[in-house]
């Protein structure tokens, strides 16, 4: 049996004024959390909607859970859960009514792990959707994607609208899906989120998949901005001998530089000085694209 849960071959979708996706060839392995990273409008949602057969491919093909994405679309959706990018449904329904309806369509007799998920996400399933904030509606959306414990979970910008605590909870839930042998395909424009939970990341830009990398390798490649304020004056050549440091700028007792890859050498070099403050900033998506592509998104 193939270990690929999602497998696309030169998958393209062009429609209307949208750029869509172009020649995307991708394999997502069983049991991994795969991040699909790109800026807004890069084609992430088009990719997901094509996999789910909401959009028919212009060319190329896709197999999901070993099934043809067009011919076997219903069977694929029976075995998967999906959170659309802009989760919306009849706002008169309460969360519980919505889940009961979805369970009935799925042919289930119960709500699976919905209640447990609701407790973890602190979601109120007793109120109509129109009374909920965007973040609380998103929680209901996450629950409906997960409550039936599907083999594959497809999530389009899942943490959108969630507060930081709930974002953390979501990342834990995503990791648990992997531990249970399930596959998560997570679309995001948040590099930090993707790096924290994903095993591998596909980077999409202007509808094209420009790289697929292990997160560990991506961290190696990714740069970080560091600002260090020393307690005492330092020489101009401070940290100049650390290989991963670049673009140093010393301003009085404040040193700004970038670290590419390993940060251990930086920490050891800084330990030789008295340091008042250190600030490390992760790269923006644009900077990541620079690293991969030579120009921003």
């Amino acid at each position: 049996m193939s270990t690929a849960v999602i497998e696309t071959d030169r998958l393209s979708k062009r429609y209307g004024s949208s750029r869509g996706i172009s020649d995307v060839t991708l394999r997502v392995r069983r049991g991994e959390v795969f991040g699909f990273l790109g800026p807004n409008g890069a084609g992430k949602t088009t990719m997901i909607r094509t996999l789910l057969d909401l959009l028919h491919p212009t060319s190329g093909s896709a197999r999901v859970l070993g099934l043809d994405s067009r011919r076997d679309s219903r069977a694929i959706r029976a075995r998967s859960g999906n959170l659309p990018g802009d989760f919306a449904y009849d706002e008169r329904l309460t969360g519980r009514e919505l889940l009961a309806f979805f369970a009935a369509v799925r042919g289930r007799r119960d709500l699976g792990v919905a209640q447990a998920l609701a407790e973890r996400f602190e979601a109120d399933l007793s109120r109509p959707l129109h009374e909920l904030s965007r973040g609380n509606r998103q929680k209901v959306g996450l629950i409906q994607a997960l409550f039936h414990e599907p083999e594959l979970v497809i999530l389009d910008e899942p943490t959108s609208g969630l507060d930081p605590l709930m974002q953390e909870e979501f990342l834990r839930v995503a990791a648990e899906q992997r531990e249970a042998g399930r596959t998560v395909f997570l679309s995001s424009h948040d590099l930090d989120e993707v790096q924290r939970v994903c095993d591998r990341v596909g980077i999409v830009r202007e509808g094209r998949l420009i790289a697929v990398e292990e997160v560990a390798a991506m961290r190696e490649r990714a740069l970080r901005h560091v600002t260090v304020r020393f307690a005492d004056p330092v020489s101009d050549g401070v940290l100049a001998d650390v290989p991963s440091v670049e673009h140093r700028e010393l301003d009085g007792r404040t040193l700004r530089f970038r670290v590419r890859g390993e940060i251990d050498g930086v920490v050891k070099a800084l330990a030789r000085h008295r340091v008042e403050d250190v600030e490390i900033t992760r790269p923006t998506l644009d900077e990541l694209f620079l690293a991969y592509y030579g120009r921003p998104s």
Partner: protein, 281 residues
Amino acid sequence: MSTTATRRPARGAIVGSPSSSTALGAIVRRGLRDQRRAALAWGGGFGAFGALMVAIWPSLEGSMSELVDSYPDGLKEAFGIVRLDTVERFVDAELLSLILPMALAFLAVRCVVQATVGAEDRGHLDTLLSLPVSRRVVMIASVVVTGALLAAILAVVWALTWLAGTVAGTGISASTLASGLGNVWPLAMVFAGLAALVAGLAHRPSTATCVASGTLVAMYAIDLVGKLADAAEPLRWISAFRYYGSAIQQGFDVGHVAVLTVAALVLTIAGAALFERRDVL
């Protein structure tokens, strides 16, 4: 708590893809629950109108025939007005010749469009189609719910009208009234089917509603003009209203009902097939 579990199907799950009938049943049940108020509001409104008509019939009974006799023949032919010598014929002229069929046909268009293209426009279809349900089933469910809603409205109109007629001592016939009201259902369902066809092509609810409602008005106009002008008479066969007639005056025409029902079915099937093939934007 953890959501982790073994990879065996969870308790309560039905293994594999649920059947289309399971999804259809669930969507129809949900749709019927959503339309309960509409059935009471529309049925209550038209039922009250019907009740008013039959309630005032005893005071008009003597003068109506003379009034109708004074109408021009062309007008009487165009609107199917015959002698208003019974309460059922009075209800037919006041409620069933134009107002109720047009209103219910428009409601049918609105219901199907809202459940399909409207759901697409609001982003609900993305969520619904994340479930193991085909677009074809969504379309068929919308027409089934519309059919049930129309039947419920007609039943409420029948009940209120018959009750008022009986209380007013008009001697109104329950079966004649039922055949007159029942005759509206296949006509309105043709426009539910037409809305399904348009929804299979259009992506905007306003476009779908305009095209289907415009066709409704055009069909009525063609039938009317065809009755008034001999030259336009052959065009009437393309109008659903040509097959509507009046069940109260001429009896229930099984042939015409069959034509309308088959047209509704064909339009719905074609609409479902088109909806299945097109992208959901």
